[in-house]
Amino acid sequence: MEADRRVVARWGAINLLVLLYALVPVLWIASLSFKDPATITDGHFVPRSWTLDNYKGIFKNDDFVRGLVNSIGIGLISTVIAILVGTMAAYAVARLDFPGKSLVLGFSLLIAMFPQISLVTPLFQIWRGIGLFNTWPGLILPYITFALPLTIYTLSTFFREIPWDLEKAAKMDGATPFQAFRLVIAPLAAPGVVTTAILAFIVCWNDFLFAISLTSSSAARTAPATISFFTGSSQFEDPTGSIAAAAMVITVPIVVFVLFFQRRIVSGLTSGAVKG
């Protein structure tokens, strides 16, 4: 009994450490975002006087609102396309036998490890030339590209776990491989697809390098890039509170999403890794 309680206490302490590790830095940003200008430089972890002005301020800031719209729009479009294209490829990889399969996998792996900065110079130049610079498609294209490897790998893992006998049965009943895919497998695969979509959206939402390199105005600049260009009201005032509030605004929805789908995301992130 005594030993049990000690074990529980020990695990409690260890868990608390992990919790602090994960949450303290986020709470600090939250705390900054609720401080008023007079106390923002006081260094206290907990605000001494609370205010919502920082949040009101950023939603009155057209550039930030526009950045949010861009982030959501570009992120959603990229995710949808990446999932569409990636599902097709992942199905082929998981289910079909065809020459060139290893090439597709190898190539997407290459992209996953690719240093994005190596694309910035040529894309900057090419996009300027063909008019994609500072446009939505100018960001959507690279985002799809870097979301695809993740999509293909994660989805193909999910697809392998689907009871494929059903597909066989459908084929016996005279369905073409495409009909079997569309009518039988796609509904079964939906949960995996949703998980993958969340992961892909996070990749797009989190991007910063492309967002600051391939845009030049709020026409296409996403929220993280907008935040990094926030200006204070005068030359000598740092927009700390606004940046903290904006950081919370772009963080909280994703964190809530991730927490809500926690179980699926953990399996999505890890399943590919060990079963490969």
């Binding site: 949450l23 060139g100 910035v120 294209l141 979301a147």
Partner: protein, 310 residues
């Protein structure tokens, strides 16, 4: 890459015989993969070639008239520049230290999540918070935390210390930010690896009198080796291209540039497409070498996980 030693779909002798079905399967496979392959090729293939072409030219946007072929001169310039090598060194230091820390810390957190008796779900949920936060947002948090006056962490330092304006303290903070953000990802990968270690083997070893540390070292670690190597490969390459954290925390001041940051500065700040492209090519080559060493030298089998975090 030697990736595709994946499970083939079970052969079905009845159907296999029909070459008609086989050909349609092959065609379907190609058609399904074509869009993905096309997009990836289009966005990376041509730019890489173009990047190599640009790296052989003198091309500074501020002097549009003086553009011309200089062949390898840009490479000589970059490879003899102390700034480049400093950035390269800093990147290496950040990569090695942060990956090692992530491995150790990630393993610890993985063990906690896997073995804890209380609130397993809560633990797994909490560690996803750093994963879900936008890197730039987190980096601002760290920056303000270490800003004298504003920050709660800076308050712990002697007055007048501004760690972000000194080279080594700043690098340390960059590593801290990087490790905090990515360790949970590492921990999740390692936890999946832990699941592969059979309980029976651990129990048997315990019967034979092996202590917890011995069991971990003799049984858990060897069995997890593939998972560890795969996680290391992806994190190493990911850490090598570090950009967001440095851009926000120091923007490369005081010798804290990584190769990605210095390439960005030469392109966007310096408008020097020739030098910028040369750096792009060099970074690409370095990443290829690292991947090669991992795959050939250490026998990492690349997994189906892409770590596409940024």
């Amino acid at each position: 890459m030697t990736t595709a030693t994946r499970a083939e779909p079970p052969a079905d002798p009845g159907r296999r015989a029909q070459s008609e079905g086989k050909r349609s399967e092959r065609n379907l496979g190609w058609w399904l993969c074509a869009p993905a392959a096309l997009v990836m090729l289009l966005v990376t293939g041509w730019p890489i070639v173009y990047s190599v072409l640009l790296s052989l030219q003198r091309y500074d946007l501020r002097f549009p008239d003086r553009r011309g072929w200089v062949w390898l001169e840009n490479y000589v310039t970059v490879l003899t520049s102390p700034f480049w090598w400093q950035a390269f060194g800093v990147t290496m230091v950040i990569t090695v230290i942060s990956v090692v820390l992530e491995l150790v810390l990630g393993m610890a957190i993985a063990l906690v999540m896997y073995r804890t008796l209380l609130g397993r779900g809560l633990m797994r949920t909490a560690v996803l918070v750093p994963y879900g936060i936008v890197t730039v947002a987190a980096a601002f948090g760290w920056r303000y935390a270490w800003t004298p006056g504003t920050g709660w962490l800076a308050g712990l330092l002697p007055a007048g210390d501004a760690p972000l304006t000194q080279q080594w303290p700043a690098i340390f903070i960059i590593i801290l930010a990087e490790v905090w953000k990515t360790t949970p990802f590492m921990a999740l990968l390692l936890m999946a690896g832990l699941a592969l270690v059979p309980e029976d083997a651990l129990k048997a070893a315990a019967m034979d009198g092996a202590g917890p540390w011995q069991r971990f070292r003799m049984i858990t670690l060897p069995l997890m080796k593939p998972a560890i190597l795969a996680a290391l490969l992806f994190r190493t390459l990911d850490a090598f291209r570090i950009f967001d954290n440095i851009y926000i925390l120091t923007n490369g001041a005081q010798g804290t540039s990584s190769v990605s940051v210095i390439a960005y500065h030469n392109l966007i700040g310096g408008l020097n497409l020739g030098i910028g492209s040369t750096m792009s090519v060099l970074i690409f080559v370095t990443v290829a070498v690292i991947a090669f060493v991992f795959v050939k030298g250490l026998g990492t089998s690349t997994p189906g996980q892409s770590g596409g975090r940024r």
